[in-house]
């Protein structure tokens, strides 16, 4: 009788330990989520398609050839004029890519950044399929999902993301959206900005000014 009780006790204790570990891990990460809200404002009228941001990003983050953390789209408007629209991960508030990840490798990290833990990713591709912005890809070198991190290794050292720093026309403005005095907050408030694919409900955090309809998908 006592051996059965001991076994049951061990079972219950082990289950409780597992649940507590999972909950505490998820709680500690959740606490990091609250705080600043990093966002980017992109003025399409200022981008002239030099691709400096694309090159800077690839150099900074060792992005392999053929895949992109950021890219610049070229669109021809009905009148014949050309616009260039930079795109990248939107670090959504309601991220469609985080939900399907089976191992929690993709998560909402510090200050709302959507990040990938390369050591936990199994390479199933569920997040790549789920992202409505085509911002994710398989890193051919590591075999895991990869994407823009808003250069989280730079921004907490007081530096700008590589793409923002490289932009010669200041078409990209980066900052803390929750700070009412930040430039990005003021631009979003002052200028009529749009986000990509609002109908998905993803609540993206890249705000575009003068985004033509043809490029909004």
């Amino acid at each position: 009788m006592s051996s059965v009780s001991r076994r049951e006790f061990v079972k219950v204790a082990a289950s409780a330990l597992v649940v507590a570990t999972v909950l505490s891990a998820s709680k500690s990460r959740s606490e990091e989520v609250r705080g600043r809200r990093w966002a980017m404002f992109i003025d399409v009228t200022k981008c002239y398609g030099c691709m400096a941001c694309v090159v800077a990003c690839a150099a900074e983050n060792n992005v392999p050839i053929g895949v992109f953390r950021t890219w610049v789209e070229r669109h021809v408007l009905p009148g014949g004029s050309v616009v260039f629209v930079p795109k990248q991960c939107n670090h959504c508030d309601n991220p469609p890519c985080v939900k399907p990840c089976p191992t929690g490798a993709t998560y909402r990290g510090r200050d709302g950044l959507i990040l990938v833990d390369p050591d936990k990713c199994i390479g199933c591709g569920a997040c790549i399929v789920a992202c409505p912005y085509g911002a994710r890809y398989f890193n051919p070198l590591t075999g895991v999902a990869d994407k823009c991190t808003f250069c989280d290794h730079r921004i907490y050292l007081g530096r700008l993301p590589a793409c923002v720093e490289a932009c010669p026309t200041r078409a990209r403005v980066f900052g803390d959206l929750s700070d009412p005095h930040s430039e990005v907050r003021k631009l979003v408030d002052r200028l009529q900005s749009k986000v990509l694919k609002p109908e998905t409900g993803a609540e993206p955090q890249i705000y575009y000014y003068a985004l033509p309809e043809v490029a909004s998908r």
Binding site: L23, S26, R29, P102, G134
Partner: protein, 362 residues
């Protein structure tokens, strides 16, 4: 909302790099899930409804469900870029939503919880009904109810995946019909496979068993045809005329039409089997139903990947059949081996005897 012009767009650069996962091994995986879940539903319902016919088929359906259910996870395993980390799904399952991990991963839920549950319930039902001869007992009925529900969830798994990321688009694209279609396909396919297995085991067709199985295919097939026709009609009304959708619609329509034609042939063959069952028509019925569901699973593979995107991700199709077909064949051979082991050493008979007979075996 700009739905009147939806969907339109273009491919993103990373979509060009990743392309569409268009692999036979994934389709085989989906097909196996349909067979395993359909058989589980039939065997569970047999116990719940105390059906004499399904009772006779219990060993066969259990063997089919176990043989396919035990191996179907090999499909996604073959598809992972880091297969050595597959066990992480069990170690770090994303099933508790939090701020850092919003939502619940259906993949983790199914692989980490529903798959072991399916196998455990099948083994439990085998033990209760075939080993202990407890057909109709409360424990057997409880297990059968749980098995039916788990089978139901598995049979609609791929359709449910559509809702986990961007529900509004899935709803708009009439995806709510897909779980029902997927369910009827699974049950019809399981019935056809059971019929084929009976033909192979008995080298003939026993009318008392073939008629109910073919009736299930008729009912499932007709339901599917009505639902799919409605879905295709609606998509054509909305999407025809969009030049950017041309490529997608060609393949989508082609597979849809193929699926519809095959399902109609299946229903006709099932009617033939029902009226005057023969070995040839039963075999043809099984093969046609297999092809019907195969075509539709392929369609699912496309829909799953294009639902949240520009829907033009279809363009760069590169299908390395030589490599992936071997993996699919390997899955089929492993399933047949498991079936062989179950038949020769565990369950040992495909069917129980008729009314008043049967009972504990194995």
């Amino acid at each position: 909302m700009s739905y009147p012009s939806y969907p339109h767009g273009y491919m993103y650069p990373n979509e060009v790099a990743v392309g569409l996962t268009w692999l036979p091994v994934i389709v085989t995986y989906m097909l196996f899930i349909s067979i395993a879940s359909g058989s589980a539903i039939l065997v569970g319902l047999g116990v719940l409804l105390n059906s004499g016919i399904l009772r006779r088929l219990t060993p066969l359906l259990l063997m089919i469900s176990l043989a396919t259910g035990l191996v179907f996870l090999l499909g996604p395993l073959a598809d992972l870029r880091r297969p050595e980390r597959a066990v992480y799904i069990f170690l770090y399952p994303h099933v508790i939503p939090s701020e850092a991990y919003p939502g619940v991963s259906l993949i983790a839920l199914m692989a980490g919880l529903m798959w072991p549950l399916l196998v455990i319930l099948l083994v439990a039902l085998w033990y209760l009904v075939l080993r202990r001869n407890m057909w109709g007992s409360i424990p057997a009925r409880v297990v059968a109810l749980a098995l039916t529900l788990v089978g139901l969830v598995w049979s609609t798994y791929f359709a449910l995946l559509l809702f986990t990321t961007i529900p509004v688009l899935s709803t708009y694209n009439l995806a709510p019909l897909l779980p029902i279609e997927s369910f009827v396909e699974s049950v019809a396919l399981a019935s056809s496979i059971a019929l084929l297995a009976l033909v192979i085991h008995h080298r003939g067709v026993e009318a008392s068993l073939a008629r109910p199985l073919s009736f299930i295919v008729i009912a499932g097939g007709l339901t599917f045809i009505v639902l799919r026709f409605f879905g295709v009609f609606r998509l054509h009304v909305y999407l025809t005329g969009s030049p950017s959708m041309q490529i997608f619609m060609e393949a989508f329509s082609g597979l849809n039409i193929l699926t519809l034609i095959l399902s109609v042939i299946s229903v006709l063959l099932a009617i033939h089997v029902y009226l005057r069952g023969s070995v040839i028509s039963s075999t043809l019925l099984a093969l046609t139903t297999l092809l019907w569901v195969l075509a539709d699973r392929w369609l699912f593979a496309i829909s799953l990947q294009s639902i949240s995107k520009t829907m033009l991700a279809l363009v760069p199709i590169s299908l390395d059949i030589a490599l992936w077909a071997l993996e699919s064949i390997a899955m089929v051979l492993i399933a047949l081996f498991v079936y062989y082991v179950l038949y020769n050493w565990v369950i040992r008979t495909p069917t129980l005897k008729g009314e008043g007979g049967g009972g504990g075996i194995g």
